[in-house]
Symmetry: C2
DNA sequence: CTAAACTTTCAATAATTATTGAAAAATAAA
DNA sequence: TTTATTTTTCAATAATTATTGAAAGTTTAG
């Protein structure tokens, strides 16, 4: 396989993968494009490479910046804006984890806690509260694990995980 | 808040949460409904509770069974099928993790490996391979972590995590 | 076997989500 | 300032995804 073909295949694959994780396909493709690009790209470069409209590029680049995984960059002598994606994949993983945790996990925990306040002393009420409590518990555990992952260094995952499950 | 109100709110919340993780809203709601139900529910019960069509119930219940998180159950004297969701939330978490790992993470690893076979000795090719290698590495690490989580017992997450990040 | 009870399928339709493109707003140069 | 360049917005439209409902298929009872 030739380099450009491989890049295109990577960008396409990443895009379709994204949809199964609730991420906009184009957003994932723009990120993938920037990730394998050797130089900063302008809105026009992205439009051309992915064959999408200016508005679409603007929206998705902004979202990526919002997620903290793409940055604006200025090129000397050029008036327009250029964009780059950080090349450190561990950083990328941490950043995405951090954002999803904040945007999606923490709000769920809040709702679960709130719902547990239900006033009901029947057997059925007790069972409902049990389910909510268990959901909270597992979600909290996952949350605190992610929290620690975000703070940990690049190698904890592989090198130290074994310790955790021994006894 | 009253019990039934709380159940409804829980089911709705779970449904909208699901969409941000790439899960069909109705599928999540059906699961949530079964989770807080004290008895097995028939297709009609689900239709009534969620105000959805028979076909929709059938599709989504089947998907849930496919994911291994809902089971058919037979009620004595009744001809039709009933459904129940396992009430063990840790089991649920493990099952979902297992399925997503198999369906979504493993195929990505395969593609990444395949793409690394690209024949190219330029500087640009090297950089591309570096990015792919790093993506593989982090994905592999996450994958092996999830693998271990699936095999671990209910309390590893909370009780043993601390060990992992020390040193 | 035949009929009733129940489940599954799937083409048509609806609902949701993403994309376009042109106009408005913002920014910088002349 | 005025003008040229670039970015942003957003209503209209397209594409995708989910849902319906009735017909076909299956299973069980009589």
């Amino acid at each position: 396989m030739e380099l450009n073909e491989a890049k295109i295949k990577y960008i396409q694959t990443w895009g379709s993968l994204a949809t199964s994780w609730g991420v906009n396909k184009t957003m994932a493709q723009v990120h993938a494009l920037l990730l394998v690009s050797t130089k900063p790209l302008s809105a026009e470069d992205i439009m051309d490479a992915l064959k999408i409209s200016r508005g679409n590029v603007n929206m998705n680049v902004r979202a990526l910046i919002d997620w903290g995984i793409v940055k604006k960059e200025f090129v000397v002598g050029e008036r327009k804006e250029f964009f780059v994606a950080g090349k450190d994949i561990w950083e990328l993983f941490k950043q995405i984890t951090k954002e999803r945790k904040k945007r999606e996990i923490e709000p769920v925990l809040k709702v679960l806690e709130e719902l547990q306040q239900v006033e009901d002393n029947t057997e059925e009420g007790a069972q409902f509260k049990k389910v909510l409590g268990d959901l909270s518990s597992v979600t909290n555990q996952v949350n605190s694990m992610l929290e620690k992952a975000i703070r940990a260094d690049e190698h904890w995952l592989l090198s130290n995980f074994t310790k955790m499950i021994k006894k």
